[in-house]
Symmetry: C2
Subunit: 321 residues, 2 copies
């Protein structure tokens, strides 16, 4: 008898597999570069081998797995457990992972969009515990999100609810956005957008501390460089975080009043900047949320860190309240 | 045997009562100035008399009423059917209208916040029919709203979901807002805000057509004046609507991407401006919604007009899918 859950997080860059107990504690985890595993059937065979490695590390067999959760980077047909569209995973569109993992593992399978799975993970096991309406913002290469209300993922009309990064940050102009629009929150406050704003300082003969930290190579400046510079006391880097927090805080505030959320959880790689991002974001957001709602809401850093993909897949597999 | 529904819309200005069949068709309606009915118990006794008048007009008795829906301007304790807070209805806070109407009519009673009831009304009987996720914006003295998802009102953590008017419209500064903040969408695009922006033209020796339409009295300029001026070809008034549509369109776009809505319904008194408001709002909103979601969404004028309060209360009484 066992009730272990396998979490499979298939990302454009990295694919991770973990085995967890029903309380979301990881017994073992492994990851690989997705590109190294191949495309389509080869990718699935590669993941199968990673699953073997994870099970071997815990001394369990496939029969120990009661449920499988799979997180995917794109729009998911949940009934079939298949990707409808994915920019980053070639050869997997339309393939029913529900059937595939159901067959290879012999367990119940739930397939979920990665942002939705992460939101469920933070709600069930992380910084969203106890919330009635939790908004998850992931700030990374892009800005995405998910919404958990009364224990369930709120999906919207076609599974895209929580596209918080495509709120309008700049009423006029602004940089082109990955969505095809311009001036979206993602185009000013994602990791690449922060780096772009940092590089623009160079054209004004500013940002020399940032340039030095990037080894003199402007193209090597990232959001992590801006965080490092801020930690070293660079005022220009601190101002970039303040501005980022203003944009992101307004986006968070808009989402809070639209959803009447009592919790916002900020995750994604850019949150490695810690208080440089979280502090200004929280301050600007709370300043702009209507007073009646401000009292009830908490804005927190994500708790699951780099395991959010696996734990999110596990939470999806455990189902919704 | 009967299955008629009594809709009672108690507003800060106007109180309306209607009797409807289960398809939302009104058999009769009456309204009174709320202030003329009095406060607290006097108000309830006054409403009781209006109910008698409505029933008399249809030749029915109280036994013909199977359900009662009540819409209230403020936060509602739905279990008790009572107002938790109301700026505009003295003496009614905490009074269980569920008990009161249950006793006087002898029927099942549902009490709902007015914006939520209006959203349910448009969803069930109006411009929201067939939507999976419908956002209702009411543009009036303030800007409020409601959300219906999969046939149910989405309420948020404490019943305030859909406070779209308190999204940030101006990142810096802006006029004070009724919520205690500043620069909210409501503070630039509500009826009074449109009038305020119109009056500001006068200080720049502009807006003379608007002033003339208001009989030379700047204080008499309202959003209706701006609509009338635009209809007469006044370019300054047209520009005010264009700007209003830009603000409102951005707020609508932000709400669409946050909820993945497939329908937005615009109601409230300011929509009497017709295409002057709806046209620019729709154009700006669709221009700013990410392309993937733009294809699926429709932005429509509310269909229930001045009856939305009564029909919304009726829809609330009929329950949620």
């Amino acid at each position: 008898m066992s009730a272990l859950i396998l979490g499979v997080d298939i990302g454009g860059t990295k694919t991770a597999v973990g085995l967890a107990d029903p309380e979301g504690r990881l017994l073992a985890r492994e990851w690989r570069e997705t590109a190294a595993l191949g495309d389509g059937e080869a990718l699935l065979a590669g993941i199968d081998a990673v699953i073997d490695a994870v099970l071997a590390a815990t001394g369990r067999g496939r029969d120990a797995v009661a449920r499988v959760g799979v997180g995917l980077p794109g729009t998911v047909d949940r009934a079939r457990g298949a990707l409808l569209t994915a920019q980053s995973l070639r050869g997997l569109e339309g393939v029913s992972l529900k059937d595939w993992f159901g067959r290879t593992i012999g367990a119940a399978v739930v397939v979920e969009n990665d942002a939705g799975a992460a939101a469920l993970g933070e709600y069930r096991f992380g910084a969203g515990r106890g919330a009635r309406v939790m908004l998850y913002f992931t700030v990374s290469t892009g800005i995405g999100g998910g919404v958990v209300a009364d224990g369930r993922l709120f999906r919207g009309s076609a599974g895209h609810a929580g596209e918080f990064g495509h709120q309008v940050a700049l009423a006029e102009g602004g940089d082109p956005c990955s969505c095809g629009g311009h001036g979206c929150l993602e185009s000013v406050a994602s990791g690449p957008a922060i780096a772009r704003r940092a590089r623009r300082l160079l054209g004004e003969s500013r940002g020399q501390a940032l340039l030095a930290l990037a080894g003199g190579d402007a193209a090597a400046i990232t959001a992590a460089t801006v965080a490092a510079a801020a930690r070293e006391g660079d005022a220009e880097a601190a101002a970039l975080w303040e501005e980022t927090g203003k944009y992101l805080g307004i986006g968070v505030a808009n989402a809070i009043v639209s959803y009447d959320a009592d919790r916002v959880v900020l995750g994604g790689g850019v949150t490695h900047a810690g208080e440089w991002l979280l502090g200004p974001t929280r301050r600007h957001a709370l300043a702009r949320v209507m007073p009646r709602l401000r009292r009830e809401v908490r804005i927190e850093a994500a708790a699951l860190g780099d395991d959010v993909g696996i734990i999110g897949a596990v939470a999806a597999a455990l189902g919704e309240d």
